[in-house]
Every structure is written in structure tokens, then in C-alpha cells.
Symmetry: C2
Subunit: 313 residues, 2 copies
Amino acid sequence: MSLTVVGSIAFDSVRTPFGERERMLGGSAVHFALAASFFTEVRVVGPVGDDFGSDELGVLSDRGVITEDIERVEGGETFFWRGHYEFDFNTAHTDDTQLNVFGDFEPKLSDESRAADTLFLANIQPDLQRGVRAQCEGAKLSALDSMNLWIETARDSLLRAIGEVDCLLINDAEIRQLTEEPNLARAARAVMDLGPRAVVAKQGEYGAALFTREGFFALPGFPLEDVRDPTGAGDSFAGGFLGYLDSALADGGDADEALEDANLRRAMGFGTVIASFNVEEFGTERVARLTREEIDERMAKLAGMTQFDALPA
Amino acid sequence: MSLTVVGSIAFDSVRTPFGERERMLGGSAVHFALAASFFTEVRVVGPVGDDFGSDELGVLSDRGVITEDIERVEGGETFFWRGHYEFDFNTAHTDDTQLNVFGDFEPKLSDESRAADTLFLANIQPDLQRGVRAQCEGAKLSALDSMNLWIETARDSLLRAIGEVDCLLINDAEIRQLTEEPNLARAARAVMDLGPRAVVAKQGEYGAALFTREGFFALPGFPLEDVRDPTGAGDSFAGGFLGYLDSALADGGDADEALEDANLRRAMGFGTVIASFNVEEFGTERVARLTREEIDERMAKLAGMTQFDALPA
């Protein structure tokens, strides 16, 4: 029961109709790790610059995340993203991106990170994802995220990377773009033909849909009257999803057990719930002080919001 | 247990990436009535021209729909819509609209139509909706649909019409537009403050969400590998939804009983299922030969696709 995530660690400056923040802790690996930390031991692999301080490390270590494989590049600056959202929170508008140390990132995994049961390849260049996947050949469970940039510029590498993992988590529009198949169910099947046994289509506020060879499951986004910043929602979803599945590997189980239908559905629920907390405040603010009790309480509410009896009483 | 629907009866010429049809039977009242006919006795109120023949009437009467209140306007032509869809089935592109007899429509209800237990005001001018609502003052249950045109051109009338029904079924973007509230949960609450006890946000392929004063429920669209024509999906959803609720009024029950949470959830399921059949073929083709057994079978599948246990086994 251990999970390694490789991805970006960032400072985010974000403006939404409900406020703004300068240089918050962010990045896909950070949002993922915080979410997964409620279920398992998490190690983060990613680069930071001299500007990354003990406050930022503290947010992670306070949640029990192991930060030893965060690589500090001397003289470098941490990846920086500036963006804003209008009232349509499904669309992020990028105002500035400075890759900084992330531009030359060559993932270096310690023996402990390589030995993890579960591996998450957050959205980075697909050849780097493949390199990390090869280093973690003993991982029982692996998943990756990607984005339109890599579909457009490194499609063949991305298809190979997808073929080497158990699960793809990606935005629904990107599944269509990747497979050049407008029907989502067909697109998900085309992804599974490449290798993955599970495909999660992230759908923003509409929730997420899970496709496996055996069936289909979907959950709506948890309804919220106050959404302040959607940044990191998808990574929080992935962290809750994969963190829970890693915990299902406990006691020597294998991927077949972890990926049983009931586990996958519960993983979808935990992903949905943690993502919903993530968007209630800016950056990592809400998840950093979240408790397992709050998660379980919202899980029970979500389960209640999505069940019905097909047959009249 | 009886339902009256007032709305458009049309000929639709539709082109999608999967084929095209000229002058198919269509219109919101038609799609709604066919869907509702699986649950209750349905009467259709709407105008047609001389071009509307026995073949078209037969599609309705074969499903048991009572067509006596279909008004034939001598010398007139039936409402005509021509449109197409690209691969994004969530967006209809209108190429031609000829209101014809629908442009001068003044709903005339027979005593039998006025006496219905349940009334559905499909998408027509809001003052006409109010007039019909007033004629059916004995209806135990009433609902309406609308569209961006009326929000933009007859907002005050529409707000009053909404205040006079039990349930609003409308696209989620239009709920936001109507209430000028970008957050859907807040927007739905604003609608309920006007009067309705239930608000259904239709979300295209993403499914539908139900807001009541007591809670929230949502269902994904039923996953389909073959979608050929989405025209009428929203009206089919409304027909399945309200048709089932009307059947729950049986045996002298009142709206409080019909709108119990378990009934509303099941109604959402029936709406989702019938809409999913509707889009599998063009126009009314699929629903016209649909059976209750097929509906119940898909309902059971849908229930299975949306349930999970919050607590680990």
C-alpha cells in the first residue's frame, strides 16, 4: 500500500469571479498527492526551484505526503501558471505559463518511489511518463493523465504510454480528440483496445464516467452552491480515485482485486467528493485542512443522491 | 390518471453525421406524448395544417395517444423545422423555421383535455402557457419547458408562468440564463423561490439533475455507442418523467404523493431511458415501436450503472 505520483509542482496565480490569489501552491502532483494522502502513503516526484520553501513543503508533509523525491534545482525557479476563470468554471483561461525548472524535468526516482505498489503519471510529456513507468516495473497498478497539447504534439508517444498503464483518467473532450471518435462510449472502447482496463472520462461540473470492459458507471459532480476555484479539481479527483484503489491493494492483493467493480465505483465516489472539496476554496486551501470524517460524510450524501429503485415499490 | 400536453406538432428535416430524413413527424408535443404514452392516457393539443395526414396521426394513435384536440387549420401548413447536427450532438443548428399554423396558435382545449390530472406546457409562448394553465385549474400536477427565445423576449411572462406550475424542466444553460445565476444549485433554488417544487436541469448527453427543496438527484445519460439523431431527446425525457409521475397520481393520490422523492427519482430514470431510445434512431422511429419491456430492462441497467456503496465491504 504505497503510491508514487510524478508530475508538476507549481505556483499558481488565479483569479475567479469570487477572488484571486498570487503564487499559491499548486501543480498536478500536489493536488493529486493531497487527495491520495487520505487513503495511502504517497510520494511526490517533481522539480522545484529555490523559491519553493518550507511553507509549501509543510502543506504536503502535514498531510503525511513524503517529499524526499521533490528535486530542488539550485538557481532555478518553480513552474508558474497564471490563469483566470469567468463564470463558466469548465474553461480555464491561461494568462501566463513559465515552465522554469519543469522545462528540463528528468524524473529521478528513489528506490522507495520505484517500489510503490501504485503509480500515477500526472500530465507530463508522454516519453517522460514512459520512462517513469519503466522504472516502476513492479507497480501493481498504474494510471496516467494527459492533455490536448500532447495529443497534438506527441500522439504516438502518448498512445504507447497509455498502452502501458491500467487506467487512463482524462477529460472527455480529450478522449474524443485522442481517438478521433466523437462517441464517448466508442472512444473509451478504443482506449481500452490499447491496453487500459479502465477509462475515466472527467466531465468538469457534470462529474465523471467510468468505462471498463464489463460495464459503465457514472457520477454527477457533487452539487455545490459555492465554487470558488476549480483549479486542481481533476487532479484531486484522480488522487482520491487512485489513492482509494491503492488502499484496496492492501494485504497482498493484486490489480484484479483492486479493480473490482465495487472498488472502482467507490473510487469514483472518493474522487468526486475530494474534487468537490477542492473547488470550494482556492488552491489547496480546503483539502489541506480536510478530514477523513468530512470525506466519509459527503460520500454517504453522494451515494444517497445517485440511487434509485427501478421498480415501483 | 390522465395527461394533457400542449405544444408544437411539426415536420422536421434533419441531417446528422449518420444520415438524414425529410419531413419526419416531430415537434415537442409529439415526442412528449409518445414517451408519456407508456405510463398514462395522453391527450395532445396543438395545430396542424392540411399537410398533416393519417400516417402522422397513426404514429400517435398507435401508441394510444388521443388526438381529438389536434386542431386542423384549413388551408394552413404544419410547423416546419430544418436543422442539422455536427458530431457534437449537444448543439442543434437551425437551417430553416417555418412557424406556419403554429404562428397563430391559440390553444383550444376540450373538456376532457381540461380535466386532465396532469398538464405539460411544452415550449410555447409563455402567455399561451399561462392561458392553458388557467383553463386547467383542476390539474393536480403541472410542469413546463421553455427556451432562450422566451427568456430573452418574454421574461416577465415566463417568470409568471413558472410561478404557476409544480415543476420546471429546462436546459441547464437556460436555468442560468433565466435566473442570471451562474451556479446551477443557486439557480435552481431561485426557480423554486418562484413557486415550483421541482426543477429538472436537462444536460444533454451528460444526463439530467433534479433539484427539490429537500435535496438533489442526478443521472447520467444512458451510455450509447450509436446515437443517430438527438432531436426530441429533451421532450422524450419530459414525457417519460411526467408520464410516470402522472401514473403515480393513480387512485386519487395528490401531488404530494406523486412528488415523493422515490417517485421523482424513478421519473428521472424513465425520462433518461426513453430519451436514450429516442436518440438511437431518427425522429420518432425508435420510440414508435418501443415496448414497456424494453424500457423496464434499460431502467434496471441504468439503476445498476449508478449505484455504489459508500462504505467498504
